[in-house]
Symmetry: C2
Subunit: 220 residues, 2 copies
């Protein structure tokens, strides 16, 4: 069997995945310098696939490249982050509405469980569960490119979402959990309209809160 052309057979794909994971995990903060040779050594490859990987991650918005100079983990301004949230506010309701009719009952139960679990999780666990919750809620949608675009937006804003979560002690801010529970209800009732409205509200409220903390975007 097999012979499915494994994507990670290509060195550049392995490096893209690895570096992306490091950035999302917070090991590499925005502004951190990335040297091609370091990456090459770390992944046991030459600099050639590293260069391709960096170009790809730049297209994803996770890396900033300057010709003949170098690469850095991408930094977002408050304006750019707000822009990402405005886009999410339009796209995620669409994706959720498409997903709802196809979500299995077990999936809905799992959403309910995740919404509960998030209330008593520590910060890093909360961030993981929150992402799981929303991605699972989208998982019924067949629109692959829309889903990919939404994932990209989550990725590019990941660092600032973490910083914001720490700042406002988000696990203990009840509003977020209220919204999650209401979304589970709308989804379990298979009501795309309510779900869309809640999803938009969820993102919009966070965006407005974010604007109240411009210090998150100060360069260190």
């Amino acid at each position: 069997m097999a012979s499915t052309p494994r994507a990670d057979a290509l060195a550049s794909q392995r490096i893209v995945a690895g570096l992306r994971a490091q950035i999302l995990a917070g090991d590499l903060e925005p502004g951190a310098r990335i040297r091609q040779e370091d990456l090459a050594e770390r992944f046991g490859a030459s600099r050639l696939p590293v260069r391709e990987a960096l170009r790809l991650l730049e297209a994803e918005g996770l890396v900033r490249l300057v010709a003949n100079t170098g690469a850095w983990v991408a930094r977002l301004s408050l304006t750019e982050c707000t822009e990402a949230y405005l886009i999410r506010e339009r796209l995620e309701p669409l994706l959720l509405a498409e997903s709802i009719p196809s979500l299995s009952e077990p999936a809905v139960s799992e959403l309910d469980r995740l919404a509960d679990a998030m209330e008593f999780a520590d910060l890093e666990t909360f961030l993981v569960l929150d992402r799981q919750f929303h991605m699972l809620s989208f998982s019924g949608a067949a629109s692959e490119s829309l889903a990919a675009q939404v994932r990209r937006l989550w990725n590019t804003t990941q660092h600032y979402r973490r910083a914001f979560a720490i700042l406002v002690d988000i696990q203990h801010s009840h509003l977020t959990h209220h919204e999650h529970h209401l979304m589970v209800d709308a989804i379990s009732r298979r009501d795309p309209q309510d779900a869309e409205a809640l999803q938009a509200l969820h993102i919009r409220r966070t965006r407005k809160a974010l604007v109240e903390h411009p210090e998150l975007f100060d360069v260190a």
Copy 2:
């Protein structure tokens, strides 16, 4: 002056721009094979920047890559094209609304002129003017990543928009021109709500018409 790190100083960027232009112009149709060596020779470079360029264009959605096998101009299914239009239906109204307050009066006049000119243009000219019209209507917006995303969506669907325009003889279908004139009116009145509604209508109507012609997506 200068010293602005010219993007096209990099060979890969030159190749990306050149190949993209060829695909958008229709010189290369979806499904056409792309050989690295041909491109390298055509652009007077080695295969190395060609490979990077192909990876980038794959990220843009214009090229389809298969590991160890080759590259083809990306082909869209009716479903994928519909998906692109659904995304545009959400994003372009947002972009237009942001743009409107910043559009200069001369720009609005130019929009009016373009809407007129389109009515008496041949097909290829229509396609060019139509793109100019909409991009100009977005030009007041500062959201660069949103604008880039919209441009990507236009690019990936370009071939099918041309094929559709030929099929329905779009220069002579009055509905399109009516919508354009109504949009110019809403913009000149600086009415973001009406403009958003019209922009969404414009895209939605085209999407529904597209579904009536699945033969556009048959593999030759």
